[in-house]
């Protein structure tokens, strides 16, 4: 049984994090010192480094500051950046959460703001701790998946095992999110066939075509020599390995970063910006994608890795599934699940899929994931540009 923190919008959190957010890089140091001074593993640092305005960054920050795992927020502003701190604070307060705003130029500088921040965190923590705890059903849970540091084993162990766990979660009514359309090139017609409406299927195909064009403009091919050495022959074969994480459930919609899908079902997150290539790579590292999945409401993320990533995340725990038995031998202290056992004949895909499912329930129930216990709290948010999703993208509703 999961016990969640009940938020005013009806969603429930599996953690009760106090988020300390810097609104420009100039406020990063002060915000970090405020977090460190709290010595509370559930006070997390988030932020946006840019001084120039960006609608996407504002939307993602708003979505994360009002995420069900967040119980309260402290904003740290330098004072002259263009991020609209008042609008963000109003959105947090309107969501029923405590929020305090510190402006370094008004507080009297670094030391004064750190001291004020410590007191603000203590007040926000006390208010957040008063949040009601209620039973939380599996159909209220949002689970995301991502792969990073992939190798030839990812597509045959960890990814299909996550797919099996996703199928069980979706069958139990949970909401599941998968992403990275740039790694799904060649899968679009198969994905489109799984869409719950033909119009959504057409949107899925358009979404992958956009990704293919975007990466082509950047001059990045998706297929490398190392893939062939690992036994992969065609682009669609490589993509299928990544695609296997999505399981076999019907696809209920497409969301973009910060959109919250309706309750239940499997959704594709479109992470590739719209329009001409403006700010470079769609996502500069795995954590940039994890942040976007969290912005869509993910309570936790299943991260599959062959080469061996060690990251976690602020706000929502990351569960790491190691695909490669050799990597597992070296890095098991950073992994939650060893899917490499499939290659050693020690477990079946179904065994590992069930183990992942059980681990999701345990971490949702309050158990720390390995990266969470190790103190990983990565967070990165950069400039991007998106148009709103089309009318066919969420046939069953949701919040764009």
């Amino acid at each position: 049984m999961i016990t969640g923190w009940l938020r005013a919008d009806g969603r429930k959190g599996i953690r009760n994090v106090v988020a300390v957010a810097y609104l420009v890089e100039c406020a990063h140091h002060v915000a970090r010192r405020v977090v460190e001074a709290s010595a509370d593993p559930h006070v997390h640092l988030i932020g946006f480094p840019g001084c120039y305005p960006n609608e996407y960054a504002a939307k993602v920050m708003r979505a994360i500051a009002t995420h069900p795992n967040v119980g309260g927020v402290v904003l740290v502003s330098l004072g002259c950046e263009s991020f609209d701190r008042t609008a963000l604070a109003e959105a947090v307060l309107a969501s029923g959460r405590p929020c305090e705003v510190l402006v370094i130029q008004h507080e009297g500088g670094t030391a004064a703001t750190i001291a004020a921040g410590r007191a603000a965190v203590a007040r926000v923590r006390a208010a957040a701790d008063a949040t009601a705890r209620v039973p939380m059903a599996l159909d209220e849970l949002v689970v995301a998946t991502i792969c990073g540091g992939s190798d030839g084993t990812s597509g045959i162990t960890a990814n299909p095992a996550v797919g099996l766990a996703f199928d069980r979660l979706v069958a139990a009514g949970a909401t599941c999110l998968f992403e990275e359309t740039g790694e799904l090139i060649g899968c679009e017609t198969i994905m489109a066939d799984r869409a719950i409406t033909p119009e959504l299927g057409a949107e899925i195909e358009a979404c992958v075509a956009k990704a293919e064009a975007y990466y082509r403009t950047l001059g990045l091919g998706s297929f490398a020599m190392g893939n062939a050495e690992g036994g992969l022959t065609t682009i669609e074969e490589k993509s299928m390995g990544a695609y296997a994480k999505s399981g076999a459930s019907p696809i209920c919609g497409i969301v973009k970063p910060g959109d919250v899908p309706p309750r239940g079902g499997l959704y594709l997150l479109d992470v590739v910006p719209d329009g001409e290539v403006r700010f470079g790579f769609p996502n500069i590292s795995d954590n940039a994608e994890i942040v976007e999945l969290i912005a869509c409401g993910a309570h936790l993320t299943l991260f599959t890795t062959g080469r061996g990533s060690v990251v976690g995340s602020a706000i929502s725990p990351v569960i790491k599934v190691c695909a490669n038995p050799d990597t597992a031998r070296h890095l098991m202290a950073d992994m939650d699940i060893n899917a490499g056992r499939i290659l050693l004949g020690e477990a079946t895909l179904q065994d590992v899929g069930d183990e992942i499912f059980d681990r999701v329930l345990a971490v949702a129930g309050g158990a720390e994931s390995v990266s969470e216990a190790l103190g990983h709290r990565e967070f990165i948010l950069t400039y991007k540009a998106f148009s709103p999703i089309g009318p066919a993208c969420l046939p069953r509703g949701g919040r764009a």
Binding site: C187, F223, G230, I235, E237, Y243
Partner: protein, 95 residues
């Protein structure tokens, strides 16, 4: 020694090596099919004989089209499998 290959989906027509598979090693104890090549982890072997033009199925989905007939146990890779997506995007050995 652990099983040399894995069947990722019941409808697949290829088996995937889970470690180095030796030439002549039996990969399907039921049919007695043996590997026709020595291949490293991650490579594909035909589960049974397949004609030219056959769609290769892995993970339950099509991953390309055979440009030559293959025998049971044959290594399936860039020498006999073409992408059905965009030929230019599939990996090709330099001539």
């Amino acid at each position: 020694m652990s099983a040399p290959v894995i069947l990722l989906n019941p409808i697949d027509n290829v088996l995937v090596a889970v470690r180095r598979v030796a030439l002549g090693e039996v990969i399907d104890p039921q049919s007695g099919v043996a590997s026709a090549a020595s291949v490293p982890l991650g490579h594909k072997l035909a589960r049974y004989a397949l004609p030219q033009g056959a769609v290769v199925i892995k993970l339950g989905v099509p991953i390309g089209i055979l440009n030559a007939p293959v025998a049971a146990g044959a290594h399936i890779h860039s020498h006999n499998l073409d992408s059905a997506y965009t030929r230019a995007m599939a990996f090709r050995e330099k001539p």
